[in-house]
């Protein structure tokens, strides 16, 4: 699996697959938008405002998933001194951060008609804001620290420390009394969301995942080119 991410293979994969992934993303997104905005039913309590869920929830899931991957790979960076892992984490961060911001902003927009407020210091919202701060610190560490090895170490420590926040986000709705409802989509327990809403949610999640894959591959290629450009100077 990791062989796919050796420099030569990645450039080949990106140049071949970029257009394909982009086209697939557009197709899945159009289908998802049609389902989310037109075909799916309104909620009996929240009426049409429930449609915000189709961008808010996938964005939150993916930002959380990306940060978890970054944190796990950061252990790999510190233990195995694998520089390719640091390239992967660096390339994953921008899309994770943007999805985090989307989750916060759309959550705020959803909050106004549902709770009557744009913002509340609710456990789930606050921990998601904390995740955005961890993303920012992770990305800033690469900008602020000049020495590459120090930047790799610092960003890894930030990601590992930030991992503590991930279960807090996940279980915040169970541990504390929050404005958020308990999760409706579960792997181990019964999913309480109706299929007519679960399908558009799944399609939009697939579209968002494809977009993050596309951005990751493009960013990884960019980072690789930066290294190779430095290499040309040393020839």
């Amino acid at each position: 699996m990791l062989n796919y991410f050796n420099p030569g293979n990645t450039i080949k994969i990106i140049s071949k697959l970029q257009k394909f992934i982009f086209a697939l993303f557009i197709a899945v997104l159009i289908l998802g938008l049609a389902e989310a905005l037109v075909l799916s039913p309104e909620d009996y309590k929240q009426s049409d405002s429930v449609r915000i869920m189709y961008v808010h929830v996938p964005a939150a899931w993916i930002s959380l998933g990306i940060f978890t991957v970054i944190s796990i790979l950061s252990f790999g960076i510190l233990i195995f001194k694998n520089k390719n892992f640091s390239l992967i984490t660096k390339s994953l961060a921008p899309s994770g951060f943007v999805f985090n911001i989307i989750a916060l902003v759309t959550g705020s927009i959803w909050g106004k008609p549902t709770w009557g407020t744009w913002w509340a210091w609710d456990a789930r919202i606050t921990s998601m804001l904390l995740l955005a701060i961890f993303y920012l610190m992770f990305m800033m560490s690469w900008k602020i620290v000049d020495q590459e090895n120090k930047a790799i170490k610092l960003s890894s420590y930030i990601a590992i420390f930030g991992l503590i926040n991930v279960p807090i986000i996940k279980f915040s709705v169970d541990w504390w009394s929050t404005l958020h409802q308990p999760s409706s989509v579960n792997v181990l327990k019964e999913t309480t969301i109706h299929t007519s809403m679960l399908v558009p949610l799944g399609i939009m999640t697939a579209a968002f995942a494809l977009f993050s894959l596309l951005i990751f591959l493009m960013k990884y290629n960019t980072e690789l080119l930066k290294i190779k450009n430095k290499g040309l100077d040393r020839l």
Binding site: I11, L37, D48, P94, I102, T106, I215, L225, N229, D233
Partner: protein
Amino acid sequence: MISEVLNMNGYGVYVFSSFVFTLVSFGVLYSVIKIQLNKELKVFETKFNNLEIEKAEIAKKQKTYREILAITSASKI
């Protein structure tokens, strides 16, 4: 019919602003990353085209450089 879809029982402004914000964020992120990628490809092309012939020969023997050259218009290969 169309006004009903846009109005969404009074929630249209919230729903559409969420979707528009999401799509604009996607557009901005894609554009920024694309610009960065194109910039690095340009730097590579310039640097490779300014290499001495011997150094260019060394570079083109390496797999990674061959892959990059395949997606740029650098002329020494």
